[in-house]
Symmetry: C2
Subunit: 407 residues, 2 copies
């Protein structure tokens, strides 16, 4: 556990010691903003605009259809391999493309079809809504039922009726990090299959998908991976299942011989069968370039800084009257704070340049992206929060409830 930071000068000193501090220069960040919402939308890597401009003007504008063979066709594999390295997946098990929702559906149906004799898909009632909705949808299509249980109470439902368990590694609201190895082992002991949603883990929490024996995983790329708004998601299918899984979205890119344009579907060998149709290339190019930031970065060092930043927030906020730190010690890279008037406080902070987000009913969620946040930024943000609370600044009618914000 790193030393507690109790002053701005201590925060500045921590920045001076921080081996990751130079990474901040790889990003374009707005002046006068402390951005604590990188867990919703990561910041813009500085070299991404040029990469996109090249894709638009040269690859699309000049080379036109020729760019499909020259570069674009392989993007889902190339990006998949780069993400695989960040989540402990040996090559050949990850492809990128489509949205997280689509990838969740693919993984849920594919795994459940490997256990068709069983009746239940298990999800977490605290899982992100889309995860829950798609577990319901997949269960209905396959004649199964969906049950909701927290990872902490998994034993209550885990028996031979369970086909698939689908959990998020990090709770999107509280930030709690589950013991993925233990959960996966328990699921396998019951003969079921395990799907991990790594949206809030990839890029900040070291993960060893192969090592823990995960059966499938999905994740988005627009949070800590900084792929840009709505950048495509990815899917991991463990090598041992690849020959057997039957994915529902049978697009021609996943065909064994796509360019034969055959009238019936034969799934490609390996992870290629998880490709669907033409992915959104411009968004993929942005993501591919954004991943350069991680090329020489040690995820363990990112994790250490993430823990130090979140510790700073948690320790500071435990001293704030009326504020409850919801996030437990086992955590991802965000801190959830419950308080009265959390919505208005979030708005008052934004007005002062501290950007976090609100989660109903009473959570102020602060995301700590270790690649571009300084300890001093976090200190300043906390001082701003204290001031907003002490001076009731959030009671200004201009901060009253309007449109909620987006994950």
């Amino acid at each position: 556990v790193p030393e507690t930071i109790t002053s701005r000068s201590a925060a500045v000193a921590a920045d001076e010691r921080d081996a990751l501090a130079p990474l901040r220069a790889r990003f374009e960040l707005p002046a006068d903003v402390i951005y604590l919402d990188g867990n919703s939308l990561g910041a813009l890597p500085a070299h991404v605009p040029a990469a996109i401009d090249d894709a638009v003007r040269r690859q699309w504008g000049q080379d036109l259809i020729g760019s499909w063979n020259a570069s674009w066709w392989d993007l889902p594999n190339r990006i998949g391999a780069r993400i695989g390295r960040l989540v402990g997946a040996a090559p050949g098990q990850v492809v990128c493309g489509d949205s997280t929702s689509v990838q969740l559906f693919q993984a849920l149906v594919a795994l459940a079809r490997l256990r068709l004799g069983r009746k239940l898909i298990v999800t977490d009632g605290g899982n992100f809504p889309t995860d829950q909705y798609l577990a319901d949808s997949a269960a209905e299509l396959l004649g199964m039922q969906c049950v909701r249980v927290s990872p902490r109470d998994l034993d209550d439902v885990l028996d031979r009726d369970v086909a698939v368990v689908s959990f998020s590694a990090v709770d999107y609201r509280t930030g709690e990090l589950w013991d993925a190895a233990a959960v996966t082992a328990a699921v396998h002991d019951a003969g079921a299959l395990m799907l991990w949603d790594l949206c809030h883990a990839v890029g900040v929490v070291p993960f060893d998908l192969d090592g823990i024996g995960a059966d499938a995983a999905v994740g988005c790329t627009y949070k800590y991976l900084n792929g840009g708004p709505g950048s495509p998601a990815w899917i991991y299918l463990a090598q041992r299942h690849q020959g057997a899984v039957r994915l529902p979205l049978t697009g021609w890119h996943g065909h064994a011989d796509p360019f034969a344009l055959a009238p019936t579907y034969t799934a490609a060998p390996g992870i290629q069968r998880a490709r669907i149709g033409a992915p959104p290339v411009l968004s993929m190019v942005a993501l591919d370039a954004a991943l350069d930031v991680y090329d020489d970065v040690d995820i363990a060092a990112v994790r250490a800084k993430s823990l130090a930043l979140t510790q700073l927030v948690m320790e500071y906020c435990r001293m704030l009257p009326g504020v409850t730190v919801v996030t437990p010690d086992n955590r991802g890279s965000q801190v959830a704070l419950s308080m009265e008037h959390a919505y208005e406080v979030t708005q008052a902070l934004i007005a002062r340049g501290v950007v976090g987000d609100f989660r109903a009913p009473d959570i102020l969620r602060l995301g700590l992206a270790p690649l571009y946040l300084r300890y001093a930024d976090v200190w300043d943000a906390l001082e701003t929060l204290r001031d907003v609370l002490e001076n009731d600044a959030y009671l200004d009618p201009k901060f009253a409830r309007g449109l909620a914000k987006v994950t």
Copy 2:
């Protein structure tokens, strides 16, 4: 029927009379290329790079998460409305997002669920492979069966067992344009529902989805709409079905109250329920800007020019020894030519700056995009084709079969 063009000077004269000729200036096109593959990937509209750059540097880089509310959240609706205008859909029936494959799956399952007592999903054995594969997949998930029949033989299978018929308006290989009104009426007479794939029609063939009573439709946006590589697709659901359809991909963006983040899914009223998760924003921004090109364009005029350009190709090629014009008079905006060595001929043409594409086993496919092609371009391409054939230029070993190209 326009006058036959039988010389380059006649082609130049046709350009001089062409009211759509100024539209070419709205595109960036490579020098020394005649691009006859706009039916695979449309050309780059000249103002798109600036729109993307603004989305990247300002909306993402500076405004960060705030851009979701300010602009991005509404993109699927805004773009959907613009596309709706091009396909005869009154407002509130089209949203944009995800790939064509995903939208096909959504539409197939949604319509088939409205006819669960029936047994068959009908597709065209000449349909684009993905359309066929997904009809098989949807049928399997719903306990139905999939049968393949050409639109011309639909009567052979159309009875009370048919739940859904899924055809493409334009055959992707031959370019044949089906009589969508007659097909839809026959399908409805049998009590079944009709899904149209407009990938090869939208932007060049006037379509009246509301008028013909289509039940659902999907289409891509990277062909004649010039949305960029892999730009997101769209889905049309007729208003009369919107309250009843149950889509399989139940992402939170399609929820009645998305920001409540409720644990169970309640479909949004209207077409909003066809939204899924976060769409690829950068690709959507490119598409949105690309659609500006169509703002003041009369689709009937585009259709007239398309017919004139394809007529020029067809009449010219009927005179070429060894070449068979496969495309019938009822056609979209492409011409399919069958010939021996079609692959090698395609490559020899590309080497001379005439870019078309090959479709197995023996088709050279020429796409005629009326917004940026001149009659003189088409004339020059045809002269090049004649020269390649007459001089056996395609026999050069460097044009021998390698990687096929992408739609």
